[in-house]
Amino acid sequence: MDLLDVIQILDSTLRLATPLLFACLAGLFSERAGIVDIGLEGKMLASAFLSAAAASYTGNVWLGCLAGIGASLLLAAIHGVASITFRGNQLISGVAINFLASGLTVVVGEAWFGLGGRTPQLMGAGRFQEIDLPFAQEIRDVPLLGPIYADLLSGHSALVYIGLLCVPLTWWILYRTRFGLRLRAVGENPAAVDTAGVSVAGLRYAAVMICGVLTGLAGAYLATALSAGFVKEMSAGRGFIALAALIFAKWRPWYALGATLLFGLLEALGNRFQTIQVFDVTVPTQFMQALPYILTVVILAGFVGRAIPPRAGGEPYVKER
């Protein structure tokens, strides 16, 4: 395996980690505010569908992306109303959203396009194009740094870079702004926020909506950047993987980047090495492709350190008497 192989694998890692990163940061905002969101998967799927549909209809990927965010926001609003205003069970609301998205995308897709739940193949401006960073071609020949810059960092779609920028942005919002302080507080002890005269519901809605925007980006990336159109169930459990990454990351933004890159790497390895020889045994390709899911189970089962979730997570806020 030479440098080029390594760079190709890492390049693919970055592409595959991006939707996970968006979804993971989305979950981070929501859970830090005390709203558990297992509906990431459904929101991502709905966004993937609507962004592909809108992009194929308008021929403009940015409009598609906006439509995807809209779909995700709508589902996020449902989750917000159910779990904040009506103090419902957040897990059940999330499951309902997943079912809703899984069914609706196929039914509506078939009604609109008649392609068995797919959307038409996206072409040209209907997809996110790869962006060459400045001077990529010029320094390609510099040893080591050249290929890293030109082949690994350069040549991704805009959403990849937006996703990477979201990491420091999230960190800054969370730890350097008033909103971040209140957001973290409301996930730990909403009564403290309430008695300080700040609206618990307002903060939680804000968090749920930010979550909606970010999962929207995750879904749009899946359908209009990673692939060229929507395919039924194309989120393929990435919403749940993002949740596992969130736990692995202990609900922190930079750790979230690390965790999602790890999952991306596993997926990239699985794609690249369909079969692998370990001594005399041939590891089947199915095993390689199952790697991210296996890691998810391991993390969720609590084998990787102790993670302390936000203390008020999953509990509706009711004023005490």
């Binding site: 730890y175 350097r176 702004t177 008033r178 909103f179 971040g180 302080l181 209140r182 973290r184 507080a185 730990e188 002890n189 009564a191 403290a192 926020v193 309430d194 008695t195 300080a196 005269g197 700040v198 203390r311 004023k319 005490e320 008497r321």
Partner: protein, 517 residues
């Protein structure tokens, strides 16, 4: 908001006029009026459930009063939410602190009172101010310390700092010493005196007479949702306050023959309970109850009566010896629970019937069957016999005069008295050797009180042992064959109802044993 005038007096920090608040059928506050002068420490004393916390929650914008008005500094104000209360200059230190455990002191102080969107300048300003406040009021806390690493005394100081940071002029403290050691409480009192001397107004809610006497300038007494008196602390005494708290209502006459106590049913030796905060709530209780007698436990609530009932009822842990009909009860093992207690002949009508005695959303028949659902009459193998349970409930409801006698009605839809009759019917009908009954008539109307008292006496005459815990002195005097007075986790003394009076019991309840004993 109406302008000043309006009869308001600017020398008063707070004036409440005719505040009323009901939660469903429960009148938590009834026509409360109170005046607190600027720069004083005002105590509000009353039993648990007297309505103190509700009143303060109204002041802090947690609830809206059904009627009445609030004047701050002589001006009428509306307080629809906590933000409005903070703007009006009110700061509140809750009994259960409202702190974010994994935040620093600084972050907690700043939360909700930041100066702009970015944190850095707010935190810097707060750091300066905290240092100054710490110097002024002897409230040394490290601003960078994380809350969960601090002791409760320090956490409480953070709560006070939070209020001062918001420039509160009026500081309300709800049962502030409940979690403090005596030394910490003394420190708190020094801080409070310092604040008063700076011109702040302090309202101290407590049920501890000693604190009222030690620190307040004036004191109001609440009982059953009403403000019964407001007096200057210097002109009153603990006994008088105890009497006002407990109340002298219309003397209830209970017709009962002299008791004929027989063999010992319950024997308690050196019973101790330490709560989660490591505070000793029971400090060596000894008691004996015989068949055919009623032992009444008097005392201001919060002096260990609840813990006593909980340990005897099997849902709290304690150390010591409890013998039931001569056989020791296991207090430590996994078999120490309410079910095994019932099997040994102990029935329990808990103090807080709405939380411990009933499931409010469940129907009457379900509630009547609780705890006895494995009774062979109610279960046929794997399944429960609902029809039998309903019939049983229907029968009990008629015999105990529960109104309306509808087994399918949810417990929350009955009045307090009828709820109590449901619990009583369930426990008495099981033919226990010992009936423990806590606050049998709290929140119960007069007619039901009489009925409940008759049932208790009838049970005694059948040869049962009865442990009665009540904060109503009249009830204790009328029903008990012997009276034990609890104070601060101990039994201060035992008296016979014919040989004592309210005054002597009041002294014992205030913890003054020496002269009386």
């Amino acid at each position: 908001m109406s302008p000043a005038g309006n009869g308001g007096d600017a020398a008063l920090a707070i004036e409440l006029r005719g505040i009323s608040k009901a939660f469903g059928p429960v009148q938590a506050n009834r026509d409360i009026s109170i005046q607190v002068r600027r720069g004083t420490i005002h105590g509000i004393i009353g039993e648990n459930g007297a309505g103190k916390s509700t009143l303060m929650s109204i002041l802090y914008g947690f609830y809206r009063a059904d009627a009445g008005e609030i004047l701050i500094g002589g001006r009428r104000v509306e307080i629809p939410d906590s933000q409005a209360a903070i703007r009006a200059g009110i700061g509140m230190v809750f009994q259960h602190f409202k702190l974010v455990e994994n935040f620093t002191v600084l972050e907690n102080v700043v939360l909700g009172a930041e100066d702009g969107r970015l944190l850095k300048p707010s935190l810097a300003k707060a750091r300066r101010l905290l240092k100054q406040l710490a110097d002024d009021y002897e409230m040394d806390v490290d601003p960078e310390a994380v809350i969960e690493d601090l002791g409760v005394g320090q956490q409480q100081r953070v709560e006070i700092l939070k209020a001062l940071y918001r420039e509160a002029d009026i500081l309300i403290l709800d049962e502030p010493t409940g979690v403090l050691t005596p030394a910490e409480a003394d420190h708190l009192f020094r801080i409070l005196r310092g604040l008063r001397d700076e011109g702040k107004t302090i309202i101290l809610i407590t049920h501890k007479l000693r604190e009222i006497m030690e620190i307040t300038d004036t004191v109001s007494v609440m009982r059953r949702g009403e403000m019964t008196a407001t007096v200057r602390t210097a002109e009153t005494s603990p006994e008088e306050l105890a009497e006002l708290m407990v109340g002298r209502k219309v003397l209830l006459r209970v017709d009962k023959a002299p008791a004929t106590p027989r063999d010992v049913v319950l024997e308690v030796r050196n019973l101790r309970v330490v709560d989660e905060q490591k505070v000793e709530r029971l400090r060596g209780i000894d008691l004996t109850i015989r068949r055919g007698e009623i032992l009444g436990i008097a005392g201001v609530s919060g002096n260990g009566q609840s813990e006593l009932l909980e340990v005897l009822g099997g849902y709290a842990n304690g150390t010591g010896t409890i013998r039931m009909n001569g056989r020791e009860i296991d207090l430590t093992g996994s078999a120490s629970n309410a079910r095994t207690r019932r099997a040994r002949g102990i029935a329990h009508v808990p103090e807080d019937r709405q939380r411990e005695g009933l499931v409010m959303d469940y129907s009457a028949w379900e509630n009547v069957a609780f705890g006895y659902h494995s009774d062979p009459r109610f279960s046929s193998g794997l399944f429960m016999d609902h029809a039998a349970m309903r019939a049983d409930c229907d029968d009990k409801m008629h015999r105990f005069d529960v109104r309306p006698p509808d087994p399918t009605l949810a417990a929350k839809n009955f009045s307090g008295g009828n709820q109590q009759k449901i619990v009583l019917a369930r426990e008495i009908e099981r033919n226990p050797d010992l009936l423990m009954i806590g606050q049998p008539t709290r929140g119960v109307d007069i007619g039901a009180i009489e009925f409940i008292h008759e049932q208790i006496v009838a049970l005694r005459d059948q040869g049962k042992a009865i442990l009665l815990v009540s904060v109503e002195l009249d009830e204790i005097m009328a029903l008990s064959d012997r009276i034990a007075v609890m104070f601060d986790g101990r039994i201060m003394g035992e008296r016979l109802p014919d040989e004592t009076d309210q005054r002597e019991l009041g002294l014992l309840m205030a913890g003054m044993a020496g002269e009386a004993a």
